[in-house]
Symmetry: C2
């Protein structure tokens, strides 16, 4: 295992196995070919060809696309193609900061291979051997990745929320961080990856924030999703990244990014540039 192997594991995507999903001529997602065949049953919503799955021409405005994809979601869930709604709405935009093209339930994001945005908060404080990081252990009862090590705080950006609003909300819910402390977090960049998942494709941007936590602070989970928090030196975290799969898959990337920004991984690392660039989309296939 190596740093690079985690980046590669998070960028396993064969565009040949997918069709671009188009809305009004613009690619908005990627649908796996076997999933696309299921969309043929809904010709009022989708037009399938060899090259693409497209929303039909009559669907153009955000309201029309939102309504059509909502209807499609219902049908796909009834047909058993998708598990369930998550009852949380994500906005699909024309690039980060761009206009909203439509909104859709979070449970549909992977099926349609839509770009999603999330925040990640590294909680750290000075330790004996460089920074120590607050690491969460996911509850054994979590539906996804139970028992894996996780970052202190992370969460998807829902429709209508900014990155900082999401950060403050998740910091409170996941780690009991009061708003005044969360406001001291600072943006530190972004990590991007695109990888096939059993449900389709995950195409995600993680906005990364750092927060130096005061000595008297200990995170405290309030939503039952975390078994415990422990303070691990960032060097030990990176050792585990290199040697184990203890961490949730995308958290490895967030830790590598932390190590790169804080000088724990330096240019003497042979794959240094591939890591720096690979964390920012250089390994993502299928174009922008």
């Amino acid at each position: 295992m190596s740093y690079l192997s985690h980046l590669e594991a998070c960028n396993r995507f064969d565009p040949e196995r997918f069709l671009p999903l188009r809305l009004a001529g613009r690619r908005v997602g990627f649908v796996r070919r076997d999933h696309a065949r299921q969309l043929e049953a809904y010709p009022d919503i989708f037009r399938l060809s060899r090259e693409a799955a497209a929303l039909v021409d009559a669907i153009r405005t955000p309201a029309e696309a939102t309504a059509a994809l909502d209807e499609a979601s219902d049908r796909l869930i009834r047909a058993g193609a998708v598990n369930a709604r998550r009852n949380e709405t994500f906005a699909v935009t024309d690039g980060w900061g761009g206009a909203t093209l439509f909104e859709i339930d979070r449970g549909m994001i992977e099926f349609f291979g839509l770009r999603a945005y999330a925040v990640q908060l590294n909680g750290w404080r000075p330790g004996d051997d460089g920074p120590d990081l607050w690491i969460a252990k996911r509850a054994a009862t979590k539906a996804t990745f139970p028992g894996k090590l996780d970052n202190m705080v992370g969460g998807g950006i829902g429709a209508g929320y900014s990155a900082s609003q999401t950060l403050a909300k998740e910091a409170q819910e996941e780690a009991g961080i009061p708003e005044a402390l969360a406001r001291r977090a600072h943006a530190a960049g972004a990590v991007r990856y695109r990888t096939e998942m059993p449900g389709g494709l995950r195409d995600e941007v993680l906005f990364v924030f750092d927060l130096e936590t005061p000595a008297e602070f200990t995170p405290c989970n309030t939503d039952g999703e975390v078994e415990d928090f422990r303070l691990l030196s960032a060097r030990e975290c990176l050792r585990r990244v290199r040697k184990t799969d203890d961490f949730m898959y995308e958290i490895n990337l967030v830790l590598i990014d932390f190590g790169l920004r804080h000088g724990l991984i330096g240019p003497e690392e042979p794959h240094y540039l591939r890591l720096v660039e690979g964390l920012r989309g250089a390994l993502a296939r299928g174009g922008n």
Copy 2:
């Protein structure tokens, strides 16, 4: 002017105007087509075609390539195609951390469009409005970009030097930073750009380091290349990046990277992702 316009200005490269320079089947540089025609005069060294300028097949080993390109450099300087040697040798490698393919005088790097590596050291200390940065003003007598604002320390990585060795050497020469202080600098990532220059193509990676300087420290230039050093708030530096061309062209990128890592530019910036990715090669044309 905007952050993004500086990234675009540093990634102006039309591959159609250039030929790939190949050595033993591998692309090692880009030669402008009018320059490539000058290489036709040296058929013992170069084989020109519509698609590429290649070193002849007999040249394969690093020693052979180094000797042949040294001879070509002499001829090109005599022919007036290149100004002069810089009497500093750069290693052209098979990617960062890869084997050395050949060594060549720094004065030839742009003509052949070879990948070069450099270090940049941000010297900062806590200020009233976030971090303050030590900024140099280039001497009026400098051959290139006289009077422009520059980073505290920066310099190309010569053959046989590591990034940290270059950093320590340049920190001493350019800013009088003692070795013990320079060792406290930490790696913080890399910035990459590829842009046409009057002499050819600049294809450069800047390894970025941060150094928190103690309150009693003031940089002191020892090689006569700096008129003065001043402490400017990073916010003021970024305002000048957005509004002026006060800074040397690639220093704008280094300052934007500093702003991204230190939370002075956050995800609310509309081009946030294009900046994060554009600093790591996403805007560079012509492949890897």
